[in-house]
């Protein structure tokens, strides 16, 4: 009963504080914007800037394929979608501690594990749903504008789910940082820095396959089937999520919720 009520509460929080709406609108914006930019805006821009340019040179400067569009969208999401996710959920735990909203539920019998798990489930599932729906929209829209070239919808679905899983990992980082500090803006900034720096390091050291960011690289391939490397990346990501969730529960249990 208690867990159901926690899930219901976090769901209500997502609806009433527009968290679901913000991430949905944010992701959909890029999913629909990328094809429009590539099909209509950029070619027009180039033509007006360089009137004498021949078609071939112009095409080499533009994205003209569906795959190119989807990759462009995935790239945008890593850069800007991450900001939306970080700052939509940065208060997940930080704000609850800062505003003392956990005291009464805990006194009533709410378990610390429920508090953390419920956030992960409700917000995590919403992230996977949003990434999947958005990439499907991007796939359809870019297919309509540029012609379909991917063999079936499965690689696209796979990419959406992998991207969603990466976002769930980011969520676990946000939740864990929230148990360490009460300022949600700092939580959001640290999460972003963490995501960008870890991807950069992964690139430099060539170890992306062993970090959660490997999921994004795998998603951009838009391939059917799955390489052995993907299983390792997925397992590492899920392992890290479990570690962050467990650490958050332990830390929250030791936190003095009444501290002013």
């Amino acid at each position: 009963m208690s867990m159901t009520s926690t899930l219901k509460k976090d769901f209500m929080d997502g609806i009433r504080n527009y968290k679901f709406l913000i991430i949905f609108a944010g992701f959909m914006f890029f999913a629909l914007l990328t094809p429009i930019m590539n099909k209509l805006v950029l070619p027009g821009l180039l033509k007006s800037q360089f009137p004498g340019m021949d078609q071939e040179t112009m095409n080499s400067m533009l994205v003209t394929t569906q795959i190119g569009n989807i990759r462009g969208y995935l790239g945008d999401i890593f850069e800007i979608g991450m900001i939306i996710v970080s700052f939509t959920f940065c208060g997940a735990i930080a704000m609850e501690i800062r505003e003392y909203t956990l005291i009464l539920p805990v006194c009533s019998g709410k378990r610390y594990s429920e508090i953390i798990l419920s956030k992960m489930i409700v917000f995590g599932l919403s992230l996977i749903l949003v990434t999947t729906v958005s990439i499907l929209s991007n796939y359809l829209y870019s297919g309509i504008l540029f012609g379909f070239e991917i063999d079936g919808v499965i690689p696209v679905l796979k990419a959406g789910i992998l991207q969603g899983l990466y976002m769930v990992f980011i969520l676990s980082v946000i939740v864990f940082l929230g148990t360490l500090m009460r300022n949600q803006i700092i939580v959001g900034l640290l999460t972003l820095i963490f995501a960008y720096v870890s991807r950069l390091l992964g690139n430099l050291l060539d170890i992306n396959g062993f970090t959660p960011a490997g999921l994004l690289i795998e998603a951009e391939k838009l391939e059917n089937g799955s390489a052995a490397g993907l299983y390792i990346t997925t397992a590492i990501t899920i392992g890290l999520i479990v570690v962050f969730v467990a650490a958050s529960i332990l830390k929250l249990r030791k936190t003095d919720l009444t501290r002013r």
């Binding site: 009963m1 208690s2 159901t4 009520s5 926690t6 509460k9 209500m12 929080d13 009433r16 504080n17 505003e99 003392y100 909203t101 005291i103 009464l104 539920p105 805990v106 006194c107 009533s108 019998g109 709410k110 003095d256 919720l257 009444t258 501290r259 002013r260």
Partner: protein
């Protein structure tokens, strides 16, 4: 219901609680008095299992709250100093959420009873974010009662409220007393304590300086000073005669009123006899009592 022995708590080098001892019995309405920063909230957060003590035993409802406990295992109700709710929830949703947090099923009858008791039935469907301080406080008191605890901790329930809000809160605490609940509440408003408490503990700079039944404290603090007013100003020779009475130490005159410092309040009989023997018309005859405010200030100043 509560028995605290040797409770200590530090924040870094600062010792917030020093060897605190407390004893609260079933049915007590215990007034925990102290100025701002005395350590009231710190004590309460330890006794509710929300914060850890450095040392001591704190038996609350038979469990030691100074040791690691889950707050909900203590079977208590708690109203924090500034109760926080989700601003985007309605009052009714808040109570349902807290009831379900304990693993129980929603019970609309009970929720309605509580809402009505705290006078929020009209506002039950409004978001808590728009509530006044007094409404939040009443919702908090309702929330503290959601699991039918026998023992409630109320941290400054009336302090931040206007007179009307304070009156509402005091009425609710009286109801709790009539329900047979034990209430431990902290405050710095001493008249509230005099109105509803039967036992008092005074905390000064993290130390309990006095703990007793309210009437005992009041009794102990009756001063042996009589204020006597007559219909005409007393003549000097009469004042001198009063000074000559064995039990009288000092007399001060203020026109028609005199103030007599005596050895003990047993002296009242003798003074009374003196005035009737002299056939003087006494308008008022009062033994001066210290109110809690004076007692408190006296205890604070001793330190």
């Amino acid at each position: 219901m509560i028995n605290v022995r040797g409770l200590n708590k530090h924040f870094g080098n600062f010792q917030a609680l020093k060897d605190v001892n407390l004893n609260v019995e079933k049915g007590d309405i215990y007034g925990f008095i102290g100025h701002n920063g005395a350590g009231k909230s710190t004590t309460i957060s330890i006794l509710t299992g929300l914060a850890k003590a450095d040392s001591g035993t704190c038996i609350v409802n038979g469990k030691d709250a100074c040791k690691t406990v889950n707050p909900s295992d203590l079977g208590i109700g708690y109203l924090p100093e500034d109760p926080s709710f989700y601003k985007w929830m309605t009052a009714r949703e808040t109570l349902i959420y807290l009831l379900e947090s304990s693993g129980k099923k929603n019970n609309p009858v009970k929720i309605n009873e509580i809402l009505e008791w705290v006078g929020l039935e009209e506002s039950a469907g409004r978001k808590v974010g728009g509530f006044s301080r007094g409404m939040k406080q009443r919702l908090g008191i309702g929330a503290a009662l959601i699991n039918d605890p026998q023992l409630l901790f109320l941290d400054e329930p009336s302090s931040a409220l206007d007179p009307e809000g304070r009156g509402d809160v005091l009425r609710l605490i009286k109801d709790l007393r009539d329900m047979g609940k034990t209430v431990f509440f902290s405050t710095h408003i001493l008249s509230d304590v005099e109105r509803i408490c039967n036992k008092v503990g005074i905390l000064v700079n993290g130390r309990i300086v006095k703990e007793d039944r309210l009437e005992v404290i009041q009794e102990e603090n009756i001063l042996p000073i009589y204020d006597i007013e007559t219909d005409i100003a007393l003549k000097n020779n009469i004042v001198e005669d009063i000074e000559k009475l064995k039990c009288v130490k000092k007399v001060q005159t203020f026109d028609k009123r005199i103030q007599v410092l005596t050895e003990s309040h047993e002296c009242g009989k003798e003074l009374y006899r003196f005035f009737s023997d002299k056939d003087l018309n006494v308008v008022s005859f009062n033994l001066r009592k210290n109110d809690l405010e004076d007692i408190f200030l006296e205890e604070v100043n001793k330190k």
